[in-house]
């Protein structure tokens, strides 16, 4: 379980998270949606312990960060580190050694090559592989489907469902609603740092429609396309 009570975060005089309270239970997948700047990444960074905050975050595994697999939107790679070394680095950091990395290379990545030479999608797949091999209890995946090819998206969806089956907690943000509706049990909508609503699976269709209307509005009409 991960529980947040009245989580707030301020950068300068800008409040980017306002009294957010959420609870994440084992064996469930949660989606966080919102426009750019809604506070999704800041929320993830607070949960991970990469940002200071006011409010409270409690979890059954402590410290939370030591049991968390964090996939950043745009993972950073050192120059001249190979894919295999990157995975090893992240696993060693969590005390996982002597892994048979090659047999677990499910995305068929060229692990002997420098990670910096990988395409955007390959980099994301490498980062995902590494956090999966860390054997975490919690996962935060910030835009995991972005830049990844369709075949890997299918694999990734199955991985998320497998993690749910293994009783893990998975929190995902995605701009592709279909990927969330396929995997999530609950979706939280953020807007300008505020938690607007939380929707269960049965309400996903309405939420998607609502988001569409809210996002599009009369913008297309303004173009007066002819």
């Amino acid at each position: 379980m991960i529980k947040m009570n009245d989580l707030s975060k301020v950068f300068g005089d800008k409040e980017v998270l306002k009294n957010v309270s959420m609870e994440f239970s084992k064996g469930n997948v949660y989606g966080i949606v919102g426009e750019n700047g809604a506070g999704k990444t800041t929320l993830f960074r607070c949960i991970a312990g990469l940002e200071s905050y006011s409010g409270e975050i409690i979890s059954d595994f402590t410290p939370l960060k030591n049991h968390l697999g964090l996939l950043l939107t745009d993972p950073f790679f050192f120059t001249m580190i190979t894919g295999r070394e990157y995975i090893r680095l992240l696993c060693n950091a969590r005390g996982k050694t002597n892994l048979d990395i090659d047999s677990k290379n499910i995305f068929d990545l060229p692990l002997h090559q420098y990670a910096s030479t990988y395409s955007t999608g390959m980099k994301k797949k490498l980062a995902i592989t590494a956090i999966l091999l860390q054997e975490n209890e919690y996962f935060i995946l910030d835009e995991p489907f972005n830049g990844v090819d369709i075949q890997s998206n299918i694999i990734l969806t199955e991985i998320i469902l497998k993690l749910k089956e293994l009783n893990k907690i998975v929190i995902i943000s995605s701009h592709i609603f279909s990927t969330l509706s396929e995997t999530c049990d609950e979706i939280h909508l953020l807007r300008k740092g505020e938690q607007i609503k939380s929707v269960q699976k049965s309400g996903f269709k309405n939420l998607e429609q609502e988001m569409k209307e809210m996002t599009i509005g009369n913008r297309i009409d303004k173009l007066e396309l002819k």
Binding site: A48, N66, L72, M80, E85, A93, R94, Y114, T117
Partner: protein, 309 residues
């Protein structure tokens, strides 16, 4: 091109201000430290000229990094990029060439000036499909990536040792293992992105202990062939050889701890001054190492979520 160099000047001035100094004072201080260190190494060792060339080339090598060169190429085009790179290398090389000229080392100064121009036209590509093998693959990242960036130093140092033994020059032998230790110090000079600290499920104490142990083990591995050879051929000088080696290791620890004492920022003037003073008077390390260690613990506490230390 003029705008580019103006921007570089603005960025450099900003860095000096961030270190808490007025830019003019920063340049004067930098100049004084450079002169002082140059005089010191020329006074201390007959291999100072090689050290001057090596340090200069290592700065220029950084400027030739692939992504940087590609950015210049895409922004300014081929011709202007080459002009910028030559000018940059000459600016960096100027103090080093000047000091060699001042010491009447005309040939070495000429070679360094020539290399500065040639290196400006080369970018060091890391875009191979095959990676350079490294003995440090099991425990990445500082030594595995650092080794690849500086792999040419090691055969050079080993050959120097052979020459040292052949011409019966212990100082040259000591210089060759100091060269390796100096190279490894560079692996810890810049802070890594916070994610790579955060990801460790360790307390700050364990984190630092592992960093220091790993660095010591790897540095010993790289210098072992030289140390063994020198101990075999100069058994009576074992105290001197081992003493200098352990002092080198202490400096490696100092750099690691200095890096995390300033984390997530870069090492700055106070850390640089402390290291420079301990170079002049090594017993200072006994105070500096614990100081940096305690400061590092404080700096790492938040990212490693350690509420107990």
């Amino acid at each position: 091109m003029k705008d580019y160099f103006n921007l570089l000047l603005v960025l450099t001035n900003r860095k000096i201000r961030e270190a808490g100094l007025h830019p003019v004072l920063g340049y004067l201080l930098g100049f004084a430290v450079f002169i002082f260190l140059s005089e010191y190494i020329f006074y201390k060792t007959e291999f100072a000229k090689y050290l001057v060339i090596l340090v200069c080339l290592s700065f220029q090598f950084r400027l030739s990094e692939k992504n940087r060169t590609e950015f210049l190429l895409s922004t300014f085009g081929d011709k202007t990029k080459n002009k910028i790179r030559i000018l940059e290398n000459l600016l960096v090389g100027f103090p080093f060439v000047s000091i060699l000229l001042f010491k009447d080392l005309l040939f070495e100064a000429g070679i360094l000036a020539l290399c500065s121009i040639v290196f400006a036209l080369v970018s060091f590509h890391s875009h191979f499909n095959l990676s350079i093998p490294t003995p440090f693959s099991k425990k990445p990242f500082e030594f595995s990536t650092g080794f690849r960036k500086t792999f040419f130093i090691f055969p050079m140092a080993y050959v120097l040792t052979l020459i040292a033994i052949n011409v019966d020059n212990l100082n040259l032998g000591i210089f060759s293992f100091l060269l390796i230790l100096l190279t490894t110090l560079g692996y810890y000079s810049t802070p890594e992105q916070e994610y790579y600290v955060w990801v460790h499920a360790e307390t700050p104490r364990i984190f630092l202990k592992n960093k220091v142990l790993n660095a010591s083990k790897n540095a010993t591995f790289l210098t072992a062939p030289i140390l063994m050879s020198l101990l075999i051929f100069y058994p009576t000088e074992f105290a001197l050889i081992l003493g200098i080696f352990f002092l080198g290791l202490l400096f490696l620890w100092t750099i690691i701890l200095a890096k995390y004492s300033a984390y997530p920022g870069e090492m700055n003037l106070p850390e640089g001054m402390a290291i420079a003073f301990s170079l002049l008077f090594p017993p200072l390390l006994l105070a500096i190492i614990p100081f940096f260690y305690l400061k590092s613990i404080t700096k790492l506490k938040f990212l490693l979520n350690d509420k107990n230390e």
